[in-house]
């Protein structure tokens, strides 16, 4: 019953408390912009929490996706809708109240049931005893990848990861089908979009000095995913964010001249194609789908190294897709689909 001091529970409780406060604030505020920003803060806090839980890859992704991209697309949408919410009218709330009562009862039951859960951070819990030691002990010998998360993500469970890339691809497709260049006849929209010339020298200067470094960093994150936190998602999101920053500091057209609409679409599909294509190539070489060891003869390396190279290749595929999807989502949501100007 001794508690290891390496887990700072005081710090955790503080962060969790702040998260609860942020969640309540985000839902209670009347300004939609402010709640979008508070949601971003909530994301950052959850990142902090995850870093402290030793889930660095997850925290990295949440920082890039939850805190950055989500906030940007929230704000991009906020310019097309009213800035303030209206007060809830009293009236037929009966069903809602019933649902809330049920939800509160469920919450109490679930809180009560936590007594039966394995203690937090218990090294003897079933989850720590069953599958995970095998991953940790075998991953390096089988895939030559010291980052176990990358090995599990892109090799042992790479079928999941392929469909994860397909999910973001589907999202880009759906948003495009919904918004892009559709007619604006019915538009009863509050048009709050300011004119932006992109002539601000300070912004341009800062963008010029930051964006190249961002892109190099993104490539580093993508390629160094075997040895450090990072990989296709994080690298892709950072690379996509560099184009979003370009659009914010100059304007949308400027960014679109560098990364054209068609190129974005091609990259969205191309990344998934690279991933699934590698899977199919393994199948063609007589192994099962996504069995990278099949590439060993082709590359002239051992099976272990072939898996390592396979992981890198699919990470590149994921990176391309995620990068293009983030840019595509931004283009559509920030400009309301007409790709003229926005945010």
């Amino acid at each position: 019953m001794t508690w290891d001091a390496s887990l700072l529970w005081q710090f955790d409780i503080l962060v969790l408390l702040m998260m609860v406060i942020c969640a309540v604030t985000a839902l209670a505020l009347e300004g939609l912009l402010s709640s979008a920003i508070v949601t971003g803060v909530y994301s950052f806090l959850i990142c902090l929490m995850w870093t402290h839980m030793m889930a660095v890859d997850v925290a990295f992704t949440e920082a890039a996706v939850g805190a950055a991209i989500s906030t940007v697309i929230f704000l991009g949408t906020a310019q097309y809708i009213s800035r303030w919410i209206k007060k809830d009218r009293p009236g037929e709330q009966g069903i809602k109240q019933l649902t809330i009562v049920i939800a509160v009862i469920c919450a109490v039951m679930m809180l009560n049931a936590t007594r039966d859960l394995p203690d937090w951070a218990d090294p003897a819990s079933p989850a720590s005893k069953h599958l995970s030691p095998e991953y940790i002990e075998q991953a390096y010998h089988e895939t030559a990848t010291p980052n176990v998360v990358t090995a599990v993500l892109a090799d042992y469970r790479s079928y999941d990861t392929m469909f994860e890339a397909v999910v973001v691809f589907a999202a880009a497709l759906v948003v495009m089908v919904l918004l892009r260049r559709t007619s604006h006849k019915h538009r009863k929209v509050l048009h709050l979009r300011p004119k932006r010339e992109g002539r601000d020298t300070v912004l341009r200067g800062a963008a010029q000095s930051i964006i190249p470094v961002m892109q190099i960093f993104a490539l580093y994150v993508l390629c160094h995913g075997h040895y450090s936190p990072g990989g296709g998602f994080q690298g892709g999101v950072i690379f996509g964010a560099s184009f979003i920053l370009l659009a914010l500091c100059y304007n949308l057209k400027f960014s679109m001249n560098r990364f054209r609409e068609h190129a974005v679409l091609w990259c969205c599909a191309g990344g998934v194609l690279l991933y699934a294509g590698i899977g199919a190539a393994c199948l063609g070489l007589g192994w099962n789908f996504l069995g990278y060891a099949a590439l060993a003869d082709l590359l002239g390396v051992s099976e272990k190294m072939a898996r390592s190279h396979g992981i890198l290749a699919v990470e590149v595929g994921v990176g391309i897709t995620v990068m293009a999807v983030m840019v595509s989502l931004y283009y559509d949501l920030a400009s309301g689909g007409d790709l003229e100007d926005g945010l």
Partner: protein, 129 residues
Amino acid sequence: MILDILVILAMLTGLLFFVATTVGIIRFPDFYSRVHAAGKGDTLSTTLFLGGAILFLLRDFGTDTLLTAGKLLLIVFYIFIASPTATHAIIDAGYEFRVPYWTRSKKDNSTKGDEESMDNGFYPEDLKG
């Protein structure tokens, strides 16, 4: 020993500036001065705090600590570029939308004026904060 004192000193000053920033954001009367407090104070305090961390790392000098210190230095450098730029962009947008600023005579309804001004338009530059 001297390094330890330096580390503690840098971190404490950094924290002090953080507190000052927070107080400034809450207590200053209008949009411009609040953003000013956030921009200035935040940049300086982060720099000081991370500087302290770098010094702390360099106590046991070696290749990997030097590498980590280099990464931290890069973070400091980019915060030093990005944070004032964001502040500039926010202020610029506020100025373009004619957000009223505080003068001594408007003291009583200053907060109200600020709220109203928020209604006038949308600040795209909010994002870079």
